[in-house]
Amino acid sequence: MEKFLWAFIVGGLICVIGQLMLDGLKLTPAHTTSTLVVVGAILGGLGLYEPLVKFAGAGATVPISNFGNAIVKGALKEFESSGPIGVLTGIFSITSAGVSAAIIFGFLGSLIFKPKG
């Protein structure tokens, strides 16, 4: 039960940071999400994101910052097993499920619905 509470608080706080970037710093939505990805990647590279995931679970894995973390994690993992070329091949190894799902479900959605704008 405690895990749920922390997931809610940590996930919510990441969203608060995003909202402050939109409203306070007047960043565009695209700048906001990509900044969060880059911050997640840096924290992942320094090994600081994984403890957050252990602590808050989905609160840390669902926000977009985890996308940056997962990209770096995949690159580092492949680097260890297959050397420098692994940095290139490993980038999407962990995130491939998310990326492929976005493409496939996007495609399926476009078959059924008409865009509204």
């Binding site: 939109l22 409203d23 007047k26 565009t28 939505p29 008409k114 865009p115 509204k116 704008g117």
Partner: protein, 334 residues
Amino acid sequence: MLKGHQTWVFESKPTIIASAAVGGPYEAKGNLASDFDLLHGDIRLGQDSFEKAEQKLQEQACETAIKKAKMKKEDVQFLFSGDLINQIVPSSFSARTLSVPYLGLYGACSTSMEGLSLASLLVDSQFAKNALVCASSHNAASEKQYRYPTEYGSQKPPTAQWTVTGAGAALVAAQGEGPRVTASTIGRVIDMGLTDPFNMGAAMAPAAVDTIEAHFRDLDRDPSYYDLIATGDLGRVGHRIAGDLLIKHGFNIPKEIFTDCGVLIYKQDQPVVLAGGSGCGCCAVTTFGHFLNRMRKGELRKILVIATGALLSPMSYQQKESIPCIAHAVSIEI
């Protein structure tokens, strides 16, 4: 005849012999639904693109106005029209359908009054017996061009406005029955350095104030001359700013006669519109539909409509330019 610095007084008082307004689904749910000649439940109007739908809106508004005047499209001598889409294609393409001698206009959301001024000038100077004016906007087409695709789901601040899906048309003629255009004040481009496209009302308010002041100065008139003074699409945020600025400049327009098309068109409980309506269609449908209907019913006798336009492009916004704005005022009396 030029009066003062920037006001045309039309001595012959060209008559708006017919007008029409066509709208979309959100306009149908708004305050002015009964003033539309035609309302569409589908934002696509059965077309395969939003731009084609906007073209259709213009064609229907023009055809309805011509039909109401008991004329044929061959009888229309000139067409002035404009919209917000790149290279004003909805206007040019609907002019192709109407095949009337055509002058395309771009004045952003001030297009309706820019067109009405020019059509009245043409008729007053006897260069034409009649001229048709049309202005339109389409919510989805504008969102696509100016902002993010709606599927992206990006948030908008509460100061943002909702582009009206609609077209308004008015047929101005030398002879006939109806409300008459008596004067036009052509606005200057005013830029107060604002850069937020999600707060266009605030950017446009100073332009509206500049033109209102010029109008009363040039004609030596008092705001009490009019039964209604309406700005084009300042919305709830911009309209309040314009009211405050006018008071600061010593113009006390009574609250009950000072209004805004962007505030009037939608209901308070339509949260999707945020601060109110905007777009060329906003002032066009409200003026050519609602206001002219009220004049014909005898509820209003003298009105001043100040259509406000933000002269930005997606490119100028991306290059971090500020938003220059304009406003044109037209005085209509019956």
